[in-house]
């Protein structure tokens, strides 16, 4: 099995995962996004969370708008369909490529895990490190929440936390591999998991908190955040299922011919 055979399957699995995430996102995510944009349109000034920041989130604002005829001529209908599909499929393919090559690198090198087992583990840990933990620290915000004045610092904090989480995950998997011969598999994995939780917990406590919710209604916020988590979970789950299935088929076929 070659790097190419992993990559091709990763990109295909990513395509499937992106399409699936679009279906989930369109079904559960778009209703709360529409609610949030409607709230923003009716009460734009009231949504300003920081009275000192001179927040301009109205539809004539230079930074951003959600109007039907604004935003470079991109309508809400396009954003909800082709736009959302573009985003989920692009992210799915990009993550699929990365996950497949990581799976190629660790195949046969993670204890006695089978190819399917190690690939499933890579996908699961990727979900935890790239999506779940960042979501817990910096949960997704619906339209109308989040000031244009803080987008720079919020983006920097978010990706710094993602970087810490992913690097810590890679490091503790290597740690588990190094500890396993001495401690045994169970204790090595527990030690590595504890180390990961410790690192991200310290980072989460040390890094700035973002709270720009203001008077945004809690029910719409909850519905949006749940749907965002569902969309990301759907993407990773479909990626894992599709990639393990494709690689498992390839492995059994190459074993049959060998």
């Amino acid at each position: 099995m070659t790097a190419r055979s992993f990559l091709v399957r990763g990109l295909l699995a990513g395509l499937i995962a992106g399409a699936f995430a679009f279906v989930v996102g369109y079904t559960v995510g778009e209703p709360p996004i529409d609610d949030a944009i409607a709230l923003e349109a009716t009460a734009a000034p009231a949504a300003a969370p920081d009275p000192t920041a001179g927040h301009t989130h109205d539809h004539a604002g230079t930074a951003h708008s959600h109007g039907d005829d604004a935003g470079g001529g991109i309508s809400r209908t396009t954003q909800k369909t082709w736009g959302l599909a573009t985003a989920t499929i692009a992210v799915g393919v990009a993550l699929g490529g990365i996950v497949a090559l990581v799976a190629a690198g660790v195949a046969g090198r993670l204890g006695r895990l089978s190819l399917v087992g190690s690939t499933a583990l890579v996908t699961a840990l990727g979900f935890v490190a790239y999506s779940l933990l960042p979501f817990l620290k910096y949960p997704a915000a619906p339209p109308a929440v989040g000031s244009a004045n803080t987008i720079g610092s919020r983006t920097a904090s978010y990706f710094a936390f993602v970087l810490i989480s992913v690097v810590a995950m890679v490091a503790v998997v290597a740690l588990a591999g190094a500890l396993a011969p001495r401690l045994g598999g169970h204790q090595a994995v527990v030690a590595a998991g504890t180390a990961y939780v410790a690192v991200v917990a310290v980072a989460a406590l040390a890094m700035p908190t973002v709270n720009e919710i203001g008077a945004f209604p809690a029910d719409v916020l909850w519905e949006f955040r749940l749907s965002a988590l569902l969309t990301q979970t759907a993407l990773w789950a479909a990626l894992g299922v599709a990639l393990t299935w494709l690689l498992g088929r390839l492995e059994s076929r190459s074993r049959a011919t060998a």
């Binding site: 736009g83 989920t88 992210v91 006695r112 190819l115 915000a141 987008i151 919020r154």
Partner: protein
Amino acid sequence: MSHTAAAPLTGAPTLPDVPTVDLRELAPWALFVGLLSLLVLFFVSADQGAISIPAGTAIHEWVHDGRHLLGYPCH
């Protein structure tokens, strides 16, 4: 775990060999795909928000809903 653990370097003989990929073969693929994927993730997740290459809002608006639902910071 079935028989003796006498030969840990060669692995348990009862288990089928898991295919491995030569890391020197994998490295250029990983570098290229890694950079390309990060570029794609950048355009979906952050472009024309905190940083704008190119200037404008068209990319931001196009992927707007995905950016929100995939959890990336957005305005």
